[in-house]
């Protein structure tokens, strides 16, 4: 089973975060669907598996899946599990630059608060580009 988990996302729940766990999960899963990391028809883990892995109540994960279904991101079928819908919403192409600027501004703001010099800020971005995952359609990490 050494190839299981390859390229599959990992969800993180912070129990100390004031945001309730179901909402933390909902946001992460919504991001993964909208960004295309979870492709159309891809199956989400069963409720009980995710609840067990995260130490959460099954009802908490069920609420997350319900809200994702209400938002039109996933569909649940009896016996067929929960899957990403066939045509999930995506990021509009004309908004890409705008979104990148928003995220870059947020990152730079945090880096400045840490007192990081500009070179270190840029180095961190370059390093992230070489080690980060590549979303579908992107050029992906530079070859090493």
């Amino acid at each position: 089973m050494t190839d299981r988990g390859r390229g599959m996302p990992t969800l993180v729940v912070d129990a100390t975060d004031p945001v309730p766990p179901y909402e933390q999960l909902r946001r992460q899963l919504a991001e993964l669907v909208v960004s295309g990391v979870l492709g159309p028809g891809e199956r989400l883990p069963p409720l009980r598996q995710l609840a067990s892995d995260l130490g959460l109540a099954v009802g908490t994960v069920a609420r997350t899946y319900r809200e994702l279904e209400t938002a039109g991101l996933v569909r649940s079928r009896r016996g067929g599990g929960t899957r990403v819908v066939d045509e999930p919403p995506t990021v509009p192409g004309d908004r890409l630059a705008e979104l990148l600027r928003e995220h870059a501004a947020g990152y730079v703001h945090r880096a400045r608060l840490l007192g990081a010099p500009d070179d270190a800020v840029l180095d961190a971005v370059r390093q992230a580009l070489t080690t980060s995952w590549s979303a579908p359609g992107s050029r992906g990490p530079a070859p090493r």
């Binding site: 089973m1 988990g5 390859r6 390229g7 599959m8 990992t10 912070d14 945001v19 959460l56």
Partner: protein, 327 residues
């Protein structure tokens, strides 16, 4: 086959098995990523041994106390049942994460990923054969001379004569055996469910490979225990039933056919028995190669979410495991 020959063959099988087990113990299975924590692996092994120990105790007790061979018949199935329960206890000992930060992979785990398919098919077949045989022997059984129902096989010969043979594996033996087998099946089902559903004992990416090996091993032992539980009585009842059907000379013709089939299948069930037992006994230690299991894990949500409107909570977010990175 004389008793001496049986002992020699059994000793040979055990000896060869011990040598193979020793060799396999020296040839570890390599798993990418980190190893499952020692305390978790130790608990899994300890519970398995506790189950095996209790199984031996139950088998000895049953064989010493059961009357008219019933205890002897139930001894090995009880061992198999407790072995499976030991696996279940080990899997239950892996507790859910309780720290402030918890991670989970989105990769769905399926029973088919861990189940030994060929062995499972063989054991399911043996179980169906045992069920069919027990129903048949129960329907054919009649009370013995002391009125114990289902311990005698009799056939009417001519107008006013009859012929019989015993002991016969009818309801007197089939009912308690069926009860143990059903308990065993329930235990196996619950164990396999737990093998798939239990949480990962640590980082879901780094531990994935070695944890999956442990789950696969647990499933193999559970199915192997199920196989032992079923095939030992299947072999015994096939031999006794075949001999009983042949011993009654005036039974219907299909009794001879049934006797031939049950006897002919005995070697098949013996093979399934050896296969099951070897799956329980022969295991290889897991050695983690260290480093990233499938690549690096990179946080994506620390800036408040990638996609506006879907944004993640501060400080948490989906992380994506990158194939090939970090190697």
């Amino acid at each position: 086959m004389s008793l001496g020959l049986v002992v020699v063959v059994a000793g040979l099988v055990v000896g060869v098995g011990a040598v193979i087990a020793l060799v396999l113990a020296l040839v570890p299975t390599r798993a990418a990523g980190e190893a499952v924590p020692v305390r978790v692996r130790r608990r899994l092994v300890v519970w398995r041994w506790v189950g095996a120990g209790l199984g031996v105790a139950a088998a000895v007790t049953a064989s010493a106390t059961g009357a008219l061979g019933r205890g002897l018949m139930l001894a090995v199935p009880l061992f198999g049942l407790f072995l499976v329960l030991g696996v279940l206890a080990g899997e239950l000992s892996v507790s859910a994460p309780s720290g402030p930060t918890r991670r989970a992979s989105l990769d769905p785990r399926r029973l088919g990923d861990y189940l030994p398919r060929a062995l499972t098919a063989a054991v399911v077949t043996a179980t169906a054969a045992l069920a069919g045989l027990l129903v048949t022997t129960t329907l054919l059984g009649s009370p013995d001379d002391l009125g114990r129902n289902g311990r005698w096989l009799s056939a009417r010969c001519g107008m006013d004569g009859s012929e019989g043979h015993g002991p016969w594996p009818g309801s007197y033996y089939a009912v308690p055996l069926a009860a143990v087998v059903i308990l065993g099946l329930v235990a196996v089902a619950v164990t396999l469910h737990r093998v798939v559903r239990r949480p990962r004992p640590g980082d879901p990416v780094a531990l994935a490979a070695s944890d999956d090996l442990l789950r696969r091993r647990a499933a193999r032992v559970a199915v192997g225990g199920w196989g032992v539980l079923v095939t030992i009585p299947l072999v015994g009842i096939s031999v006794v039933a075949g001999a009983g059907l042949r011993a009654v000379s005036c039974g219907p013709d299909w009794w001879d056919t049934l006797a031939g089939v049950t006897t002919a299948l005995v070697p098949v069930w013996v093979v399934v028995l050896i296969w099951s037992a070897s799956t329980v006994v022969l295991t290889r230690p897991v050695v983690a190669t260290g480093g990233a299991a499938d690549g690096s894990t990179v946080g994506a949500g620390t800036s408040g979410g990638v996609i506006p409107g879907a944004g993640g909570p501060g400080g948490t977010g989906a992380e994506v495991n990158t194939p090939g990175a970090g190697r």
